[in-house]
């Protein structure tokens, strides 16, 4: 980026090369739903001048198809940019393509889609994780300067980062404007970043963060230059290891790798100790009940009239909407619509939805209590190594949901996280998740960067 700005590298050549290489990668691993054939270098010589950026397909990009991985949005060409896209374009970034994902973000392996399914560059028979699987895939495969903009609701940045050996930064809820994001679960969706260097993630977050009048849930807290947390000292930093995140359901080899890294952080000046977050086992059911309730409401707007899949108008309102929705939504989207509609129905609402919201309050309280004592917590990112597609096929929906066991609690509590690659297991990438208190992304950058340069 600096080279492009100072003229030693041609931004036009770098973008041309990034697109050409992306096409080659697409043939092998399918990270994209759409490649931006018209991508060209920006004329704005900002902080991202000459940088190729891929964008998860649930974030609106002006003039470039945005499907959120769903057939019901196939062909939708947004007439506007999401706020985060406008911000990176204003700094000179170029969008090279839209990355593959589970439909609307409904999944952990990027297989719940009728569009593109990304394959893991470490082993093409395995998943890249989800739901931002395409973002993880292209970040791992790209041998050109590149950063991915992605999104997480319950772990959709951490999972692909862990499974592809990349870095995934999920900011605090409200830190980045959601304007222009195709909503999954409004109270949990967060736009974030995947990259190969902590510096790149910190810089990108500095650019996309900040209040936006177009998103009433975006925080009014002043944003920061997060790169100032690079090269910090870890002396006096307190880190907790919540024992529930190293439980029986987690591959022991992954747990060991993460515990080894705690020892490394101690040698760098941090103080690490085991602690407990006792409500953790309740995170999965309460997360899913909240997520599907909000999702089923959000998906009510897809009726085949204004954008995306549209049929010839026949029958009455109900008949037409039902026809389009039945054809356009995939299997998992229907499953979540059904479960969410059920959980919100009169007579069931208190039992499911409100109970889940109360549990969320308990989980937030527990995290807040922990962060009075600790600057950050570390855990494994995912409980398993990236599974094979052939094994994923045999998982029940319930088994699929429980793969998110380490990511749902911080996500539903709005806590920022970063996933860092640690030693491989069976030659496959695995990750360590660092969790900080709300709006303390600086602590994540500080620890992750020191870890990156020392590991």
């Amino acid at each position: 980026m600096r080279g492009a700005r100072e003229g030693s590298i041609s931004a036009a050549d770098s973008i041309k090369e990034a697109v050409a290489k992306s096409k080659e990668i697409q043939k092998k691993y399918s990270p994209f739903i759409t490649i931006n054939e018209k991508a060209e270098a920006s004329r704005t010589k900002g902080r991202l001048y000459g940088l190729a950026v891929s964008v998860k397909d649930n974030i609106c990009t002006k003039g470039l198809q945005t499907t959120a991985g769903s057939k019901i949005l196939e062909g939708y060409i947004p007439p506007f940019d999401a706020t985060c896209i406008e911000k990176i374009k204003n700094e000179g970034a170029t969008i090279i393509g839209k990355t593959a994902q589970d439909e609307f973000g409904f999944g952990t392996f990027s297989v719940n889609t009728q569009l593109s399914i990304p394959k893991n560059p470490s082993d093409a028979e395995r998943t890249c994780g989800g739901s931002s699987g395409g973002a993880g895939c292209i970040t791992a495969a790209a041998d050109f300067p590149h950063v991915a903009i992605a999104e997480s609701t319950g772990g959709s940045i951490t999972a692909p980062a862990a499974f592809t050996g990349t870095i995934g930064l999920t900011p605090t809820y409200g830190r980045v404007s959601r304007y222009g994001l195709v909503d999954y679960s409004n109270s949990m969706d967060k736009i974030g970043v995947l990259g190969n260097r902590v510096h790149d993630c910190a810089l990108m977050l500095s650019i996309i963060a900040g209040h936006d009048p177009l998103d009433s849930t975006s925080s009014e807290l002043p944003t920061e230059d997060f790169t100032k947390y690079l090269n910090a000292d870890l002396k006096g930093v307190k880190i907790g290891l919540p024992k529930e995140y190293f439980s029986e359901g987690v591959d022991k080899r992954i747990s060991k790798n993460v515990r080894d890294k705690a020892a490394l952080l101690e040698s760098l000046g941090a103080k690490c100790e085991e602690m407990s977050l006792p409500s953790t086992p309740y995170a999965i059911p309460s997360y899913y009940l909240i997520a599907v309730s909000e999702a089923s409401t959000n998906l009510a707007k897809y009726c085949g009239l204004r954008y995306g899949l549209q049929k010839d108008i026949t029958g009455n309102f109900d008949e037409y909407f039902t026809k389009v929705r039945t054809e356009g939504f995939g299997e998992e989207a229907k499953r979540r619509i059904i479960l969410g509609t059920f959980a919100r129905m009169a007579g069931f609402r208190d039992k499911y939805y409100f109970k889940a919201l109360r549990i969320r309050a308990t989980i937030i309280k527990e995290f807040k209590q922990a962060f009075k004592k600790y600057d950050a917590l570390i855990t494994p990112s995912m409980p398993v190594v990236p599974p094979k597609f052939s094994d994923i096929k045999n998982l029940t929906p319930l088994q699929n949901y429980y793969m998110d066991i380490l990511t749902t609690a911080p996500n539903m509590a709005g806590m920022p996280t970063i996933s860092m690659p640690v030693e491989k297991v069976d030659g496959l990438p695995v990750g360590m998740q660092i969790i900080a208190d709300q709006f303390k992304e600086g602590n994540l950058i500080k620890i992750a960067h020191k870890f990156e340069v020392s590991a």
Binding site: Y352, R360, Q438
Partner: protein, 95 residues
């Protein structure tokens, strides 16, 4: 409603009508079975008493108000629709 944690076929029909989805009998059986399994596991939340107020958001969110003043956009709202007439979306008949 004796068992909250079960979706039977009759309830499935009611849900599909609300959600505007048509399912085949085979799909109804599949979803009813899978979701009953999911709900059986989610019964777990009965095991925790929480006296906290429901957290609709993870962070404090306040209502935001603005003046009700029309603003011009520089984009065409009908641009993605093939169902339009005289500057309006054209929808199916109501009944």
């Amino acid at each position: 409603m004796a068992d909250y944690w079960k979706i039977d076929k009759k309830l499935m029909d009611r849900i599909c009508a609300v959600a505007r989805l048509t399912l085949t009998e085979k799909e109804k059986d599949m979803y009813a079975k899978q979701l009953s399994d999911v709900l059986e596991a989610f019964k777990q939340i009965d095991g925790i008493e929480s006296k906290e107020s429901p957290a609709f958001h993870s962070v404090t969110v306040e209502n935001v108000w603005r003046e009700d003043v029309a603003k011009k956009t520089d984009w065409e709202p009908l641009g993605n629709s093939k169902h339009k007439e005289n500057g309006y979306f054209k929808g199916p008949r109501i009944v």
